[in-house]
């Protein structure tokens, strides 16, 4: 029956969310990008010539500007840029969301356990988190990439997640600390509930909203890291991400000659991260009742 409660809260939260100008803009942008990502599945089916990776237009031998057949033009090998942009959206979502999801799951579980258990467990976990937090993730990734060669996209996702969970765990830990001494938690203890049960049944539902909020921030940083990696040449060469597109434009020397090639992926990276950020800010208002515009009287 907790589904009912979640639905009720979701509806209430949605109303507040959608009235917030940041929420509105963020959601609109996000929907545009989602359509882009979805369409990337269909484009190669319409015409294999438009496949972002392999679809070479036989008539074109160099990078060309926007035209009727190629909305944004082609890259230096003759592949359609528009299709690549759509594909990039798909990759951005996959990387962003999966990496954010893994880091949230890790961060939440570790944060809850650390906050609730206290003592040595807390100290060990949080010091580990501190150490990981101070490591510059991009540099680490570059070092690992140069040691082990180019990574598969999923390894990149995983490593980003590993580098990012500490920030989440700190927040979740503080939230857990404040919940720990609340009467309803003590009541569960008195009823005989085990620590595990208290953490997952009582503390988790109360920290989950916060975790979701932070997920939006994780997404932006994951997308940026992947883009940076790809741009620097350490990304997964079999995936066409926006960062990869930027790498190609740079590698092929077209950086300043082909604005129609360079600008769209850069713009997309900025706009997508911006839309997730706006989502996060709007969520702030949903989660923190004090930020809401109307209050009820006494």
């Amino acid at each position: 029956m907790s589904q009912n409660q979640y639905i009720e809260r979701f509806k209430k939260g949605w109303k507040i969310f959608i009235q917030n100008p940041l929420g509105k803009t963020g959601v609109t942008l996000l929907i545009i990008f989602m359509l882009m990502a979805i369409s990337s599945f269909f484009i190669p089916l319409i015409d294999p010539m438009y496949d972002p990776m392999t679809g070479i237009d036989p008539l074109i031998k160099t990078s060309t500007g926007p035209s009727m057949q190629h909305f944004l033009g082609t890259d230096n090998v003759g592949r359609d840029l528009f299709a690549q942009l759509m594909e990039g959206a798909k990759i951005a979502f996959i990387v962003g969301l999966s990496s954010a999801f893994i880091s949230i799951v890790l961060g939440t579980v570790i944060g809850m356990i650390s906050g609730y258990a206290g003592g040595m467990t807390d100290i060990i976990l949080m010091r580990t988190a501190d150490i990981i937090m101070i490591m510059p993730s991009l540099v680490i990734l570059l070092i690992l990439a140069s040691l082990f060669g180019q990574f598969n996209i999923w390894i990149i996702v995983f490593i980003i997640a590993i580098m990012r969970w500490p920030a989440v765990s700190r927040i979740i830990r503080s939230q857990t600390l404040s919940l720990k001494s609340r009467p309803f938690i003590e009541a569960s203890k008195v009823a005989g509930a085990s620590n595990l049960r208290i953490i997952f049944r009582h503390i988790m539902p109360n920290v989950l909203p916060l975790a979701f909020l932070y997920m939006t921030f994780r997404v932006t940083s994951a997308i940026l890291v992947e883009a940076a990696l790809s741009f620097l040449g350490f990304g997964d060469p079999s995936q066409v991400s926006w960062g990869m597109m930027l790498q190609w434009v740079w590698k092929s020397g077209h950086m300043f000659q082909a604005p129609y090639w360079m600008i769209p992926p850069g713009l997309c990276i900025s706009l997508l991260t911006l839309s997730f950020y706006m989502l996060g800010r709007a969520m702030d208002e949903v989660l923190d009742p004090r930020l809401r515009k109307e209050e009820e009287g006494r």
Partner: protein, 326 residues
């Protein structure tokens, strides 16, 4: 001499779900030097009345109708500037969490000096210091504690300092909203005795708001009992507490446990107070009232007079029937 005369006051709060009528057509008056107590349970509107009398209603609240006559002024029309001049000088307030109302980094005497200076810029420093000494004498705080910081005071002393601050500018009326709720019973007793003494010495009027009827009975000569935004009974304390007439007052008194209460009394349950946003009835107690009849739904109750000073908001025949049945 009538100091304060409130007529047909209604106060509402704007909420997401609609207008919440916290105070519904309330009228009362206070003479100079007398004390009036407002008793009732949470949500009855008594705190809202206190805030209205100080011009401290939050942004989403407003006076819907009615007049507040204080000496020659009508407070219901006051703007911010008028309130800032008025507050502290003519009417001052002792809040619920008063102990947290003092600035922790400023010495106690300086805070009181500041209060006096704000309203009496023409007074000299020595005059003000003298005044502060007198105030502390009045509230029985030893002179050598004047220069302490608030955290060095005990709970009871802090409350007495707050009372001193409220008295600093010789207000004609003090509004005390649950001033002793957070205090231990022994300290509470001291503070109430203090308030009684001060009131008599300075001839100040007091509006005392509390959910604890025994505390109100200790300080106030006149009582208003409130329920669901309406006053249901008013009169002298002996009248209201010894011979209550309104069904709610009776239950309220029965629910109150004193050291002489009968161990085996059974008090009937009352329903939750009506939702003040959607309530459109005539009597807010109707849903829980044991003498409620069809008349209560179709007619507005009136003031039934038991004496010159004692009235209940009901219908005469219903009250008489209730008396006979009991």
């Amino acid at each position: 001499m009538t100091l304060l005369n409130v007529e047909n006051l209604s106060v509402g709060y704007k909420t997401k779900k609609g207008l919440l009528k916290a105070v519904n057509d309330v009228s009362f008056s206070i003479e100079q030097g007398r004390s009036l107590g407002f008793v009732g349970e949470s949500g009855c509107g008594k705190t809202t009345i206190g805030m209205t009398l100080m011009g401290l209603l939050p942004d989403n609240a407003s006076i819907l109708q009615g007049d507040i006559y204080f000496n020659d002024s009508n407070l219901s029309n006051f703007d911010d500037k008028q309130w800032r001049d008025f507050r502290g000088r003519e009417i001052s307030m002792i809040f619920q969490a008063a102990m947290n109302a003092m600035n922790p980094v400023i010495r106690v005497d300086e805070q009181i000096i500041e209060a006096i200076e704000t309203h009496n810029p023409e007074k000299s420093k020595s005059e003000i210091n003298e005044k502060v000494k007198n105030l502390f004498n009045l509230v029985d705080i030893p002179q050598d504690r004047l220069k302490d910081y608030p955290h060095q005071y005990s709970g009871g002393m802090k409350q007495r300092a707050i009372i001193a601050m409220a008295l600093a500018c010789n207000p004609k009326l003090i509004i005390a909203d649950e001033p002793t709720t957070a205090l231990d019973v022994i300290v509470q007793d001291q503070i109430l005795k203090e308030m009684n003494k001060i009131q008599k010495e300075l001839n100040t009027s007091v509006v005392f708001i509390s959910h604890d009827i025994a505390v109100v009975a200790d300080v106030c000569e006149d009582i208003c009992v409130m329920y669901g935004g309406q006053i249901v009974e008013k009169g002298k304390r002996e009248e209201v507490f010894k011979t209550p007439r309104h069904p709610y007052t009776k239950i309220l008194l029965e629910s109150y446990l004193s050291l002489d209460s009968d161990k085996n009394i059974k008090v009937p349950e009352i329903q939750k107070a009506p939702d003040l946003i959607t309530f459109t009835g005539n009597c807010s107690f109707a849903a829980s009232c044991n003498i409620c009849s069809k008349k209560c739904k179709s007619h507005t109750p009136g003031w039934v007079n038991m004496s010159e000073t004692h009235q209940a908001f009901c219908f005469e025949d219903a009250l008489n029937k209730d008396n006979n049945d009991r």
